[in-house]
């Protein structure tokens, strides 16, 4: 019987960790390719309203965002506590919206312009007055395709 047992005190070989970097790199590349960096820092507080009939925004590069909400605490001294509009990284007025949309359009191919969507990220406690003003400006510059950003309602 002991013919086959040559070495009784054989230790288990350690698990090789040579492939660990490969595994980690795989994960790394996955996250690198799926990640979308936040482009703007929000200067306004936004709690999105809830809805059920949602549709997804497909092409993110074709979406321009308009944020509306009360300024963050550090900006409240300058801008007050009433809801304000934020375009890109700074506070803006309703009258700045046409310029913003025009510059967004110029950044894209002419063929893509009709597919562009404006996403309104508006805080749920905002009054409709400011939203209506924004909508009027968008109509004037015929950026008619809009999306009221909202969260899925949990039943």
């Amino acid at each position: 019987m002991s013919k086959f047992r040559k070495d009784d005190s054989k230790e288990l070989p350690e698990v090789s960790t040579a492939s660990l970097p490969d595994i980690v790199f795989m994960l790394l590349f996955f996250f690198m390719s799926t990640t979308t960096m936040r482009e703007v820092t929000l200067n306004v507080k936004i709690a999105l309203p809830q809805a059920t009939e949602l549709s997804k925004l497909e092409k993110k590069s074709l979406v321009s965002y308009i944020y509306v909400g009360t300024p963050q605490p550090q900006f409240q001294k300058m801008f007050g506590t009433e809801p304000r509009i934020q375009l890109n990284d700074q506070f803006a007025e309703v009258s700045d919206i046409p310029d913003f949309i025009t510059s967004e359009r110029q950044a894209h191919n002419e063929a893509e312009v009709p597919q562009m969507i404006t996403s309104l990220k508006v805080d749920e406690y905002t009054k409709m007055g400011i939203v209506t003003d924004i909508k009027q400006e968008l109509r004037k510059i015929s950026a008619l395709h809009i999306n009221y950003s909202s969260r899925k309602r949990v039943k």
């Binding site: 790394l28 925004l57 015929s142 809009i146 999306n147």
Partner: protein, 192 residues
Amino acid sequence: MGSKKKVPGIPSSSLADIAFLLLIFFLVSTTMDVDSGLERKLPPMPPEEQEDTPPIKERNVFVVLVNAKNQLLVEGELTRVEDLRDKAKNFMANPDDDATLPEKKMVDVPYFGEVPVTKGIISLRNDVGTQYKMYIAVQNELVGAINDLREDLSKQKFGRSFNSLNLEHKKAIQEIYPSRISEAEPKRVGDK
């Protein structure tokens, strides 16, 4: 001096650590949220000199009013948001051909043949002081009502969900249940 000196290999044991560091950075900075929301089309600006549009019969208009206190008035009745969807569905479908609900017009729709199509229009008017939350809730119910009707028709006709239909089938159903939600300019009553 003929001694052959071996160049020591660069230790690669720290490679994993570096990769981990990068991995953790991307894990933290990543945002996986998918942007979603209610999709709407705004009406184009009316031309400068507009001819008078033919008047729309009262029975064809579904009037939804929201005031500054977030109360809902549907066709002259105080309504809860929960009941709005059923009312809107009943209005758009008009299953019993009620004389107070919208008229229908026979239209030739591909795949369906001659079918009655409603002439109904939903008119939504909010106040300047209405809360955005309420506005979205109302919009959601109205969009939902039309989506429900389309879904029902799709199940009945094609035996499949509306979203899984091909473009032509979708168009046919959209023709029968058009998404006609008109938004009037808000009244400035409850400002602030």
